[in-house]
Amino acid sequence: METEVLTPEVQEGFDCVYNKPDTLTDTRFHYCPGCGHGVAHRLLMEVIAELGIQEETIGVAPVGCSVFAYHYMNIDMQEAAHGRASAVATGVKRVLPDKYVFSYQGDGDLAAIGTAETIHTVNRGENILMIFINNGIYGMTGGQMAPTTLANMVTSTSPYGRSTEWAGFPLKITEMLAMLPGAYYVTRQAVHTPNSVRKAKKAIKLGFEYQKLKRGTCFIEIVSNCPSGWKMNPVDSNKWLEANMLTMYPLGDIKVPVKEGQGE
């Protein structure tokens, strides 16, 4: 992929209020305009830069829209087979136990084909951070139904809307995972408003900080939009997300670490 330098010069008379961190490469995102992946990538890399752990972090990219995450993330990375990111991350963490390891997966990857790996990684309490982007659709393959697709939601493989009678129900895998003793910190965030972006960044930072404690898996779901897959413009997709996705997938912490002395 062509590398294009996009960092602009700060013009005279202007103050620089935001810079891309060193942890992002200069490669232009291939994501559709308005897609949440770009924001999620940026947050993740900002946190790694702020914590100063670029040299100690290994990321695992999935199969899905973020398959090329390693083009943008300026860190050592491994590209996993479809659904297997958390197994690959397990392999990494078990031989490099003192490094920071994260996986980054979409809903099809994590909650359909990779369900077994997801559940058992969290159940083992692997000391990794799992980032789960839930946009309720298979973006890369052209907008097919995902396990998280809402009831009656139109996709290319549910053209008349998802029939729960035929295709089952939207899977709330994050709540399922929170039940597992290996899960240390489980939260659901979004990146569709400035406020939600700030909260999501805080959660990601916690996810990395907790990893140092070696007390179990940190799992962050980020409810995201898919303007192309949903066939909406970015603004409408964020409104639709707020009105529909967040009803099924409410934001907030689902499992937080028990403070010392408080017991279970």
Binding site: I58, D76, V88
Partner: protein
């Protein structure tokens, strides 16, 4: 190097050899007839310097291998036929991402759930590439407990030299039977973390990325050329075989692994009767000793390929013989091990029908 003599099962000897060869991590899933490998490793883990993890499936295990190998660790997994089928996707990715690792298939009878008895029915899967795309495994076929142990060292060496997966293709009999084994000492195979490994990016180098994805066909073709060049080099430099009395032989048996041991006995029995028999045993199934077989085809009168399957390696033997001499096949399937007498009977028949006619 001073070797330690032990009496061990093939599976345990392989596991012990892996620890001595400096294996850093093993990821696996139980399946008969190879479960002793992981059991032995778990028993040894607290006392020695390596890690073992029981995965939730063979699919997860092979992807853990991918992750750990990509981190630069010396890693290994083992399984048996149905489990190895589940690993094929991951093995294709490992080959494409050029990650060294050692795999062991303790083959049982198939297809399907099959039987837990020994078989050689996975030759095609191991040698022709069981997963998708143009790739090869380096395949070593032991025929004794001693070789089950020794080939662990050879497998790691070759995998690391050629940056790809190597496989020990064994079977349930070799895995389960006990023999004397002379083990190499611990620390005799040094290992350093390779420069390409994804271990965390220091400020002074670009990111290391482990991937098998090249969306531009021109780049993907380049990767394929790289792989094919390695396989050519393997064919040139790393072919191994055992030649047993083929020099003056009229009838040359070809067999690998367990079958080759039975055939060696059958050759002795045939020689006692005055039949000039010999045995060519490929040790590396890939790279295959095709040149040696072609050379033998100049002097031998007839070939008899013996396998515990419906006839898999025989295709490669026929390609090597290239029509110069007839190639017969004798196989038993479904977990049956042929007896030396059964093979001798085959040799006698061929000797009577083909050799007497040719004379």
């Amino acid at each position: 190097m001073e070797r330690e003599i032990r009496l061990m099962k093939g599976n345990e000897a392989m596991a012990e050899a892996a620890i001595r060869a400096g294996m850093k991590a093993y990821f696996g899933y139980p399946i008969t007839p190879q479960s002793e490998v992981m059991e032995y490793l778990f028993e040894q883990m607290p006392k020695r310097n390596f890690k073992v993890l029981q995965a939730e499936s063979e699919v997860a295990a092979i992807n853990m291998i991918y992750g750990a190998a990509g981190s630069g660790a010396r890693v290994m997994t083992s399984s048996s036929s149905p489990g190895m089928s589940l690993m094929q996707e991951g093995i294709s990715y490992i080959a494409a991402a050029e990650l060294p690792c050692l795999l062991a298939n303790i083959v049982r009878g198939g297809p399907g759930l099959g039987t837990i008895q020994p078989s050689q029915g996975d030759y095609f899967q191991a040698v022709k590439g069981g997963g998708h795309g143009d790739y090869k495994l380096i395949v070593l076929a032991p025929n004794s407990v001693q070789e089950m142990a020794d080939f662990v060292f050879d497998g790691f060496k070759l995998a690391e030299k050629f940056r790809g997966p190597a496989m020990i293709l064994s079977d349930g009999a070799l895995g389960q039977m006990m023999e004397k084994v002379a083990l190499l000492p611990e620390g005799s195979l040094p290992h350093t973390v390779p420069a390409w490994a994804a271990t965390g990016k220091p400020a002074n180098r670009p990111p290391n990325v482990i991937t098998s994805l090249y969306i531009e066909p021109e780049k993907m073709e380049m990767i394929n050329h790289t792989l094919q060049a390695k396989y050519k080099q393997l064919q040139k430099e790393e072919v191994r075989y055992e030649d047993y009395q083929t020099e003056d032989a009229d009838i040359v048996l070809t067999a690998f692994g367990l079958s080759s041991r039975i055939c060696q006995k059958a050759v002795d029995l045939a020689r006692e009767q005055g039949i000039k028999a010999g045995l060519l045993r490929p040790i590396t199934l890939f790279p295959f000793p095709e040149k040696k077989i072609a050379e033998i085809a100049e002097t031998a009168k007839v070939f008899l390929d013996v396998e515990m399957n419906a006839g898999q390696m025989v295709e490669d033997v026929r390609l090597a013989v290239n029509g110069k001499k007839p190639v017969y096949f004798k196989g038993r399937m479904g977990g049956i091990i042929p007896s030396p007498e059964e093979i001798l009977h085959e040799i006698e028949q061929i000797s009577e029908q083909v050799l007497s006619y040719q004379n």
